[in-house]
């Protein structure tokens, strides 16, 4: 064992170029796909295409962040996809109710958001307590809360997407930060310049959807949380060795509960984002497999289901890789069904690379 460990250590110092490549292979792969699709995809290489890829990936990014924390601790959260739906449905129905009761739009939206997030946190709390206190395997505990989330959200919406919402949700959710009209030189923040008529909107160059701010802030926050804080350090420690963490005096129970609450918080937030982007409270459909998509992205980002490793930005790259692949294949005229195979193959490549260079990550 000692010899092997020494050999690996030696390998690390020698193979630094390899290590950088292997450690960030998903990133390089992303760059490669972008280059390839720029040639094959019609209008793929365009500012607004990249903007919309990321804009539409907001919810997936949030779910992947959630899953990153959980997976680093060595767990898995199967409930995130349906917690997203629960949050969207709960907040939408609250907004609908309050708005119909003549509350002001901002007030009903605000209360709706709070209700949606609260419902999500409840799921995480239940799962977290099950896992941390009663040692229920995360797979089962979150499968349980997933069932409860499904049941409750269908109770709330009865299988109907929830409409009648306060106006302007989608305007906020899909707004851009900067609008420029090259022809007239007019520009403004957060709304089209007053001099530009609605039908001229096509001539506008719109830069940075508002979701970019959200993504940027959250990626930064979560990156900081994981990288620079005690909370993050303990998250890795728990994933590395639960035993060591307990003996080092980490309150692992509380920590795990917090992890699952954080996970469902992010899932709940994704539900709110979905509500703002789509304008209706949609429950999650069964074929969506949002949680599996998020887990896949995190793994592509180099995390291990055994726990102990994973990085927020790498998970984000994982999401973008899958989304770019989907978008690029579509714009290149490839049938949607091939996407499943492509994703499967890429996953295998990811894990085999991970296995070949286990200590480089």
């Amino acid at each position: 064992m000692g010899d092997k460990a020494l050999a690996m250590k030696g390998g690390r110092e020698k193979a630094s170029v390899f290590s950088v490549l292997a450690r960030n292979w998903s990133f390089f792969f992303l760059v490669l796909t972008v280059v390839i699709f720029s040639f094959t995809g019609k209008n793929f290489f365009a500012l607004n295409n990249f903007q919309s890829i990321i804009h539409l990936a907001t919810t997936a990014l949030l779910l992947a962040c959630a899953e990153t924390f959980v997976i680093i601790t060595g767990g898995v959260d199967l409930s995130v996809g349906f917690v997203l739906g629960l949050s969207a449905v709960a907040s939408a129905s609250t907004m609908q109710l309050l708005y119909a009761a003549h509350w002001s739009a901002p007030a009903s939206v605000l209360v709706g958001i709070v209700v949606g997030i609260a419902a999500s946190l409840a799921c995480g709390l239940v799962a977290g307590v099950m896992i941390a206190r009663f040692k229920v395997p995360p797979f089962i505990a979150t499968l349980g809360t997933m069932g409860i989330a499904i049941g409750v959200s269908y109770h709330i919406c009865g299988g109907f997407p929830i409409g009648y919402l306060p106006p302007g949700l989608t305007d906020i959710g899909n707004m851009y930060v900067l609008y420029v009209h090259p022809a007239s030189g007019a520009w403004s923040f957060f709304a089209r310049p007053a001099s530009i008529a609605a039908n001229q909107i096509k001539e506008l160059v719109r830069i940075a959807p508002i979701s970019f701010i959200l993504i940027f802030v959250f990626l930064l926050l979560l990156w900081h949380l994981l990288k620079n804080t005690r909370f993050g350090q303990h998250t890795y420690a728990i994933g590395g060795s639960m035993d060591a963490s307990v003996r080092a005096g980490i309150n692992t129970r509380r920590h795990l509960i917090l992890i699952y609450v954080l996970s469902t918080f992010l899932a709940g937030l994704a539900g709110i984002v979905d509500l703002f982007q789509s304008g209706t409270g949609n429950f999650t459909t069964f074929g969506a497999q949002l949680e599996l998509f998020a887990i896949a992205a995190v793994i592509i980002g180099g995390a291990s289901l055994m726990g102990g490793k994973g990085r927020i930005l790498a998970s984000a790259v994982g999401v973008l890789l899958l989304k770019v692949l989907e978008n690029g294949l579509n714009l290149s005229g490839v049938q949607p069904f091939y996407r499943y195979i492509a994703v499967g193959l890429i996953l295998i490549v990811a894990v085999v690379i991970d296995q070949l260079f286990p200590d480089l990550f």
Partner: protein, 250 residues
């Protein structure tokens, strides 16, 4: 008198089974006591009582001559009673400084308001303590996974020492190590001894115990059957005590 740690009349039962029966013992500062016994003799249970994993059914624990209550591993750690388990309890996915500071990370203010981990400080302190214990680890940045068994042992010891252990319990410190590494561990224990730390070593390796221990305590079926001074005894006597051929009370 003069013990760093003393236990008096400790009894621990599991259901009908008496795992530790009325055991008393003590360890002085700068002394190494070897705890010996066959499997199931109650060694592990006794040290788990001391390190706070189990709560004794009867008896008391004195630390620095004061009676103390140890209800959890945290209590023991807070007093300066550190345990190095056979599995070392290291987070293999983290590097050396992260493990030494695990649970007690040093923070600093970044940008004047953000509380962040002070990696530089922890790295510096870690190399200091390793130097103090005369331990060489190629790169502190390497994850524990990439270290050898002896190096891991060293990290675990450094962690205890850094956090001011006054009393150290080592469970099979030399098991699963190569010969050279075993020697290194023995010399580290001797170094610790010279720093005035009280140590209990559990080991099946009779040879090692004879090398480091000042005294030996032998347990059988939950009872303390003998307490010997190392230089006054020999391996045959110890073995016969362990397997129960004769009972010596001294």
């Amino acid at each position: 008198m003069g013990y760093v740690l003393e236990v008096r009349n400790i009894t621990k039962r599991f259901g009908g089974l008496v795992a530790v029966n009325d055991v008393s013992m003590g360890v002085q500062a700068g002394e190494v006591v070897g705890l010996l016994g066959d499997n199931g003799a109650g060694k592990s249970t006794l040290i788990k009582v001391i390190s706070g994993v189990y709560k004794a059914d009867a008896g008391k624990i004195l630390f620095m001559d004061k009676e103390v209550q140890i209800d959890s591993p945290m209590d023991a750690l807070a007093m300066g009673i550190e345990t190095i388990y056979q599995d070392l309890a290291l987070a293999e996915n983290l590097n050396t400084p992260a493990n030494i500071f695990l649970g007690r990370e040093k923070m600093k203010k970044a940008l004047g308001f953000l509380n962040v981990l002070d990696h530089a400080y922890m790295q510096k302190e870690s190399s200091k303590i390793l130097e103090k214990l005369d331990i060489l680890i190629p790169s502190l940045r390497n994850r524990i996974r990439a270290l050898s068994g002896g190096q891991r042992q060293a990290v675990a010891i450094s962690r205890s020492i850094y956090w001011d252990a006054k009393f150290l319990i080592m469970d099979e410190p030399t098991a699963a190590l190569g010969v050279a590494e075993q020697k290194k561990v023995i010399s580290t224990i001797n170094l610790l001894k010279s720093h005035g730390i009280g140590i209990i070593v559990i080991s099946h390796q009779m040879h090692d115990i004879f090398q480091v221990a000042d005294r030996m305590i032998i347990m059988r079926r939950g009872e303390k059957v003998a307490e010997l001074v190392t230089k006054n005894t020999n391996a045959d006597e110890v073995v016969s005590l362990i397997v129960g051929a004769e009972t010596v009370t001294k």
